[in-house]
């Protein structure tokens, strides 16, 4: 295959890289930084069109000596990352201006992070996966510390970076052991090797070590400790981005590696089982006592990682489809909630306490209504994407006879409703206090992305058929 034909398998990433570099180059020349934001939006849209073209032209299959595999699974995730990127970039314009941190790198870093995520989703070779993971992570580390004037932001970046590097070291160690055990880093070959020969303890140890790395990236318990602090300190749009994009990418490789390469190693099922349960419980019970909305959403994202792990533990095609659908629904609802937080926080993110939302239902009914939709979806009320997401997850788990985990999961999701409802309560059922922050006008870009996210949540809840079909087709990779 010619080099050009190979690059076509990575068309979205190639486009984004070009745009990212262009933004960096244009940064010193452009005074109005918002223009760079529009350039980033343009890049994401072109990349999206590139993905469509890629699918239409049928540029499937392996590339770069089998390091990359362009399959429906990879395409599903890349489309998701690009859409997440669009929402994040559009919601950042006004945020960056209000906080006086409007720099061009921001947009470039978001694009590079998405490039990394796209590579992760499309890689079928461990070193390539690692490179994608690092590209994505390093961009995110910097983004987390973007509020340079705020100590908390720097703390978040540092914490995320140190713990993140530590976790990736585990991952790398695991990769090394797998290479030692099987002599290859290609996922399919690893599986074949593990199936063929007697499996030493080396493979099992490798599976456990890699679990630490991926568990950290998806903020699954017991590797979740960083999440609340990092989410709290990071700029709100970045926190939203982290909860959607890098997390989904990490789940993509997590699924790919464990269901193909490490599939013959049976023992990791129990790691998954325990981690799913712990994540759900720690996330939900932790969120119950939070007073800061960003921290609450951080704990909730731990819990949601737990639900996704339940579907993962099903180890079936249905389970994988459930994970994919859930990542899409979760991206829409959680990002939506973070966009509201972004807007509402105001200058220097002063209004991030749940009590600041008191009486929002009276003062800004539209903003309160969309936040209510996102929260109801996070609870999992029908007619929202969150409900179907949970439904497919528990359906898959029950089908795989994970009865105990399923029961604990649904009970957890009922507990979770309490802390989401608490926000709805303060918004609608309390009168606005004189101390509540004044109602700020909702900028056009924010109202646009909020409507898009809300429509997406409702669309996934009322007509989930199409996306589910896409997810089901994409889930066939490990057969």
């Amino acid at each position: 295959m010619s080099y050009g034909a190979q690059i076509l398998r990575l068309l979205p990433e190639a486009i984004l890289t070009v745009f990212g570099v262009a933004i960096m180059l244009a940064d010193p020349l452009v005074r109005r930084k918002r223009a760079l934001g529009y350039l980033a939006v343009g890049g994401l849209v072109v990349a999206l069109l590139g993905t469509v073209l890629m699918v239409q032209q049928g540029w499937w299959g392996p590339a770069f000596s089998g390091h990359i595999l362009n399959d429906p699974f990879a395409v599903f995730f890349r489309v998701l990352f690009l859409l997440i990127g669009l929402l994040v970039v559009c919601s950042s314009f006004d945020y960056l201006e209000t906080n006086a941190i409007h720099h061009g790198e921001y947009y470039a870093l978001v694009l590079f992070s998405i490039v990394g995520q796209g590579l992760m989703a499309a890689s079928v070779e461990l070193v390539m996966i690692f490179i994608g993971l690092e590209i994505s992570s390093i961009a995110t580390y910097i983004l987390a510390g973007f509020r340079t004037r705020d100590v908390k932001s720097s703390e978040a970046a540092l914490k995320y970076f140190l713990l993140g590097s530590f976790a990736t070291a585990f991952l790398l160690y695991g990769i090394a052991l797998i290479f030692g055990a099987t002599g290859t880093t290609h996922l399919a070959e690893i599986r074949a090797a593990l199936r063929a020969g007697p499996m030493g303890p080396m493979a099992a140890v490798a599976a456990a070590l890699m679990f630490v790395g991926f568990g950290f990236k998806v903020s699954a318990a017991p590797f979740q400790v960083w999440t609340p602090d990092v989410y709290e300190g990071s700029p709100s749009p970045v926190a939203g981005f982290m909860s959607a994009g890098p997390k989904a990418a990490a789940f993509a490789v997590f699924l790919r590696v464990y269901l193909t390469a490490l599939q013959p190693v049976e023992g990791w099922f129990w790691l998954l089982w325990v981690s799913a349960l712990l994540s759900m419980c720690i996330g939900n019970f932790g969120a119950l006592v939070q007073t800061n909305i960003k921290r609450m959403l951080a704990y909730s994202s731990i819990a949601h990682a737990g639900y996704v792990l339940v579907a993962f533990a099903a180890r079936s095609e249905l389970g994988v489809a459930a994970v994919l659908f859930y990542m899409a629904a979760y991206a829409a609802m959680n990002l939506g909630a973070f966009i509201v937080v972004t807007h509402f926080g105001g200058e220097g993110e002063r209004h991030v306490s749940i009590d600041d939302y008191t009486g929002l239902g009276h003062r800004q009914p539209a903003l309160a209504a969309v936040l209510t939709i996102f929260l109801l979806s996070l609870i999992g009320i029908p007619l929202t994407g969150g409900f179907f997401g949970k439904f497919y997850i528990f359906q898959a788990a029950l089908k795989a006879k994970l009865i105990g985990l399923t029961i604990l999961g649904v009970l957890n999701s009922a507990v979770a409703s309490y802390y989401y409802l608490r926000v709805i309560v303060v918004m609608y059922m309390r009168e606005p206090a004189p101390t509540s922050p004044p109602a700020a006008r909702v900028p056009g870009a924010i109202s646009f992305v909020l409507s898009v996210a809300a429509i997406a949540v409702l669309y996934l809840g009322i007509f989930p058929g199409d996306v589910l079909q896409f997810a089901t087709r994409s889930a066939a990779f490990f057969r």
Partner: protein, 525 residues
């Protein structure tokens, strides 16, 4: 006409929702316009449901007015609606009580009027959907979605403790329903294992043949969901809180219709889909014991109440105990009586909550001791209250008697002790209701603040009179009600006790036939 006839359920289902959309589009300052629109749509909802009564064929087994459409092909969830005699009665109860309670809120709600009516109309659609769905998944969606408007109705209006009550209501019901969802999934997968297809259609799921053990587990999962909604003892604690904090119309709907969703769940899903578990003697004893406790305990607690509305709320626990008792007698009389008692409870408790609401709007207190001798200043009100009290107690010639008598008859057939214990509840019921009436209505006016109270106005009369008429209708001529219930009840009994009819040499009623969609409507012309 043909179109209307084929889609009557969809039309009835979505009329309130259309109203909600229209109200949403109105300017929130134009309060009167909002009230008119909401009332018109609620009443229209009743009018469009009326043809159901005339077109319904009592003799025909199975579901009628069915509508089918694919909804989510990948999981086999369908938009399928249909009603039989049991759901017909509950649908009518919903549309009647819905329009009455919206009318009753005209002056009671002064705050955030627009949101109130939007939530109310959405709630109305949700409840209708629960009673019409033939697809278990669709049912679940309506069942859950309804929580949200009800949560707001309890939480935003009236009541000092509303936050606590609203969250308690939400959490209780959510816990119940997530477990129910697992039960539904077990049936769904078992059907796939046995028949190789994925479906949530209850007309298909009924052919499942599950081992008793599985049935019992699924029954328990459903039980948690339904029993919390009913509410059965010991899950009833959310009910008084929610009632006390909800606005009048909310209480009417909550008691009148929402609680029936629990009993409806038992009769529509638990009994026919899990006949083995439902007839299992351990389960029956368990359910009957809880029902009897609810009957007596609810009545005793009612006796102790100082708060008028709480008294009515606890009386609901007792009355619904009768409904579940009748169901788990598993005899035709028990089940038919239970369904009729559900309607009766909707009528009489709905009216009682309206009555409390009327005095509350005048005096802003629900303490029974604040009142006394009201019959002197409000004679019309006192008369209507008397009739409703009689209906709630179960005095012959009124609806309550018919329901309770039939339930007791059905229970007596199975076990005389159960019937005997249940009658204690009736005696206690008479005691707390008559005592309430005596304390509030009779004697001289004890509180000077009550001297100037106005009697009912035309709007309040319009909310109460239909219920009084309905109470008399069921009391004097219940035959049409028993006739529509005959087929569905016989099918259920046939499912749970296959030998019942043979043993008694009663002719076996026609077996249910699965009639394809649309076909029915055309055949009856």
């Amino acid at each position: 006409m043909e179109f209307v006839r084929n889609h009557i359920l969809t039309i009835t289902l979505f009329t309130p929702l259309a109203g909600a959309v229209v109200v949403m589009l109105l300017n929130k300052e134009r309060i009167d316009a909002i009230r008119w629109v909401a009332n018109i749509f609620a009443f229209a909802g009743f009018l469009v449901s009326l043809p159901l009564v005339f077109w319904f064929q009592s003799a025909q087994p199975g579901f009628q007015f069915t509508e089918e459409a694919m909804w989510i092909p990948s999981i086999g969830a369908r938009y399928s609606l249909g009603i039989d005699g049991i759901s017909l009665l509950l649908v009518m109860l919903t549309t009647v009580l819905g329009s009455i309670s919206i009318l009753s809120s005209w002056t009671a709600i002064q705050d955030r009027v627009k949101e109130y009516y939007v939530f109310f109309l959405v709630l109305q659609t949700g409840m209708l959907g629960v009673f019409m769905s033939l697809d278990f998944f669709l049912f679940y969606v309506f069942w859950e979605v309804m929580l949200v408007p009800m949560y707001f109705l309890i939480g935003i209006w009236v009541g000092p403790n509303k936050l606590y009550a609203a969250i308690k209501f939400f959490l209780f019901t959510l816990f119940g329903s997530v477990l129910m969802l697992l039960g539904i999934l077990v049936l769904y997968f078992s059907y796939h294992t046995q028949f190789g297809a994925y479906t949530f259609d209850i007309r298909q799921l009924i052919s499942l043949n599950l081992p008793l053990n599985t049935q019992i587990w699924v029954f328990l999962a459903f039980f948690v969901g339904f029993a919390i909604k009913v509410p059965m003892f010991p899950f009833h604690t959310w009910l008084p809180d929610a009632h006390v904090e909800a606005p009048t119309a909310g209480s009417v709907i909550l008691a009148g219709v929402l609680l029936k969703m629990g009993t409806y769940g038992f009769v529509r899903f638990s009994l026919p889909l899990l006949p083995g578990a439902s007839a299992d003697s351990r389960i029956v004893k368990f359910m009957v014991a809880l029902s009897l406790i609810a009957i007596i305990y609810g009545a005793l607690v009612s006796l102790m109440q100082k708060d008028w509305k709480k008294l009515v709320a606890y009386s609901s626990v007792s009355h619904l105990g009768f409904c579940t008792l009748g169901l788990f007698a598993l005899t035709p009389n028990g089940i038919a009586g239970s369904v009729i008692q559900q309607i009766n409870h909707g009528i009489s408790t709905g009216a009682l909550f309206l009555i409390v609401g009327i005095v509350y709007e005048r005096r802003h207190t629900r303490e029974i001791s604040e009142y006394g001798g009201l019959s002197n200043v409000m004679p019309v009100f006192a008369t209507i209250f008397m009739i409703i009290t009689m209906s709630s107690i179960g005095v012959p010639a009124l609806n309550g008697f018919i329901g309770e008598f039939t339930i007791l008859q059905g229970t007596f057939e199975v076990n005389k002790v159960w019937a005997g214990l249940a009658t204690i509840g009736i005696v206690l019921g008479a005691a707390y209701m008559l005592w309430l009436y005596q304390r509030t209505m009779f004697g001289p006016i004890t509180n000077p603040k009550n001297e100037k109270l106005a009697d009912l106005n035309w709007r309040e009369l319009a909310t109460l009179v239909p219920l009084v008429i309905w109470a008399f209708w069921i009391g004097l001529y219940p035959k049409p009600y028993f006739r529509v219930l005959e087929q569905p009840v016989a099918q259920i009994v046939q499912r749970v006790r296959p030998g019942y009819y043979a043993k008694r040499a009663v002719p076996v009623p026609a077996q249910p036939v699965v009639v394809p969609a649309q076909a029915q409507v055309t055949t009856e012309k």
